[in-house]
């Protein structure tokens, strides 16, 4: 069981309120991702749940037991840090054994769990090494191993992949997702990378300036963003926004259309423009088209035979058009 509830949790450092009162429920077994730009309070929120920071007011409960006053050690959560935070003077084996040693588990049980974790994480050959002798990916695995052996109520991940190179990041992403499938334990994952959020999460919590902008499944956020911030943050490349007369035509202050929902043609269409930079990925082509509303990004499937300076016509898919009022709220 790993149900975590936050009730009017608020955090202030001195006079600066970083998290205004906030409510959130994380259900047992869910993979929840906190995502938002840097400085949005997502790491602080995770640290509040972990107990590494004290809440200014409000209540946190785990499995309906209040834990607000408990130190991190008593909350039964495991955390994986961005810097891995391995104990440099201990071997990999001792690092993984540490939480079990603290919990006073019998040595035979410790051995058994270390062996199982090392096998699952491909660390068997490295158990006697010190963290300094491992690569970044291996260190991250040790940190995960250290987290899983104690069979916590929930896992907390604080941007665990940020220090890895792109290829390794994709691999570790899969490994963590697989781990979640296997363990079915609640996981809370903090990242600024919306791709990580979209690919891993059951539920995404989008944060902005300490406030929850929207909570929902990845596809809910993609299809029905509640405001302009979420609309712009989720999805890659970003959604195009148009204000003014063109938006007024649709009865809105601003309209948004994703690059993949615009048809491009050399002969006819709704908006006329000139091709600027085009990015060829093989599977897709991203075109930056200069129009009377500014630059519009368009995603075209496969290879497109258009070049810098060509005149093109864009047609938005009206079904997929998002409308926003002057405050940035989505209009139904």
């Amino acid at each position: 069981m790993g149900k975590i509830q936050l009730k009017s949790v608020r955090k202030a450092f001195g006079d600066v309120e970083v998290i205004p009162p906030l409510d959130l429920t994380i259900n047992d077994g869910e993979f929840v991702v906190f995502v938002g730009p840097s400085g949005c309070g997502k790491s602080t929120l995770l640290r509040l749940i972990a107990g590494l920071e004290d809440v200014t007011s409000g209540e946190i409960s785990i499995n309906d037991t209040p834990v607000t006053a408990l130190p991190p050690a008593k909350r039964g959560l495991a955390m994986v840090f961005q810097s891995y935070a391995l104990y440099p003077h201990m071997s990999v084996k001792k690092n993984i054994a540490f939480p079990m040693k603290m919990a006073g588990l019998p040595v035979e049980e410790q051995e058994k769990r270390i062996e199982a974790a090392a096998k699952a994480l491909n660390l068997t050959d490295y158990l006697d090494r010190k963290p300094g002798q491992l690569s970044g990916g291996q260190r991250q695995r040790v940190a995960i191993g250290r987290a899983i052996v104690r069979e916590p109520t929930a896992f907390l991940f604080d941007e665990p992949l940020s220090n890895l190179d792109a290829a390794l990041r994709v691999n570790m992403r899969l490994e963590i997702s697989e781990l979640h499938q296997k363990l079915a334990t609640t996981m809370i994952y903090v990242t600024h990378d919306q791709v990580e959020a979209m690919t891993m999460a059951d539920k995404i919590v989008v944060l902005h300036a300490g406030r929850i902008e929207q909570v929902g499944s990845p596809l809910e956020l993609y299809r029905k963003p509640q405001n302009r911030f979420v609309a712009g943050f989720i999805g890659s490349p970003k959604m195009n926004f148009i204000e003014g007369a063109e938006a007024a035509k649709h009865g809105a202050h601003a309209i948004g259309i994703r690059p993949e929902h615009i048809a491009i043609s050399a002969t006819e269409g709704a908006w006329k423009g000139t091709v600027g930079v085009s990015e060829h990925l093989g599977s897709d082509t991203f075109l930056h088209v200069a129009t009377e509303f500014g630059t519009i990004n368009v995603r075209a499937g496969g290879e497109v035979n258009l070049h810098h300076g060509d005149t093109v016509y864009l047609t938005p898919d009206l079904e997929q058009l998002h409308r926003f009022d002057a405050e940035g709220r989505a209009l139904a």
């Binding site: 050690a73 840090f81 391995l86 440099p88 250290r146």
Partner: protein
């Protein structure tokens, strides 16, 4: 591109480095050489000094005139005693400032350091009078107290910089792993801090061993360490050159040997944790 090093350039640099090194080491070398000469030969022209006969007579004279081992033991007690006392006070202080800094932590650190900028002679009279009234003059306890206080700012600063190097995330990880404050200090903080504490200890033993101002002014005979032992051979009258050299050699030998064996820790200590 890295700079090209021609063999000639390399040779010149090497010779220069040896000359500078020799110049710095020369006074110590000369002291040791003179200590093995008779008083007459010691004050003759330098070339004569080298060709004259070698003798142990100065060492015999020093041993007869004064009790080397009493002074040696006083130095050991005073330098280790004051360093350990300073560590006992400084470790919790530096721990608190490094891991739970307050608004004024930087100011407190600067204030501590500023006390080292005042000339010691400025407080000699009040301290002398306090020591006289409390019966601490010429006692090892008195010297341990005064040297502890003198070196405390340096000890706190050194430990603070070492503790600062320990990433707080590792301590947080220990907390998440279920460690109590006691196990956190025992299994995580201490093993990571031991190298820093060791260098601090070593450097301060040396500083205290060589401290001359307070040891000379606050002792007479009973508690006098090796610094006072050397000073007793510096006299405006009579021939004491060789004996003074012998006394100096005896006084610096222990700390020189200690320093030689702990070079690695010392260098780390002297860089104040700036180089990882």
């Amino acid at each position: 591109m890295s700079r090209a090093v021609t063999p000639r350039r390399k040779a010149i640099t090497t010779v220069l480095a040896w000359i500078v090194g020799f110049l710095i080491f020369f006074p110590i070398l000369w002291t040791i050489v003179l200590s093995f000469k008779s008083e007459g030969d010691a004050i003759s022209a330098p070339l004569n000094v080298l060709t004259s006969t070698w003798t142990m007579e100065s060492y015999e004279a020093v041993q007869e005139r004064s009790n080397y081992f009493l002074h040696f033991w006083n130095s050991v007690v005073i330098s280790f005693g004051s360093t350990i006392a300073a560590l006992v006070i400084a470790i919790p202080a530096a721990w608190a400032m490094a891991f739970v800094p307050g608004k004024r932590t930087k100011d407190v650190l600067m204030w501590m350091l500023s006390t080292k900028m005042m000339p010691a002679v400025g407080v000699l009279v009040p301290i002398y009078l306090l020591f006289r009234d409390m019966g601490l003059l010429d006692t090892r306890t008195g010297l341990v107290i005064v040297l502890t206080l003198m070196n405390l700012p340096i000890v706190v600063w050194m430990l603070y910089t070492y503790f600062k190097e320990i990433p707080s995330e590792i301590l947080e990880a220990a907390r998440m792993d279920g460690a109590t404050l006691r196990s956190e200090i025992l299994y995580v903080l201490t093993p990571m801090a031991v190298p820093g504490i060791a260098s601090t200890l070593l450097l301060n033993v040396i500083l205290a061993w060589n401290e001359a101002f307070w040891t000379l002014n606050l002792t007479a005979a009973k508690a006098a360490p090796l610094t006072a032992f050397i000073a007793s051979y510096s006299s405006p009258e009579g021939l004491f050159y060789a004996k003074l050299s012998a006394a100096s050699t005896l006084a610096i030998a222990p700390i020189l040997i200690l320093g030689w064996f702990s070079q690695k820790q010392l260098v780390r200590g002297l860089t104040f944790g700036a180089v990882k």
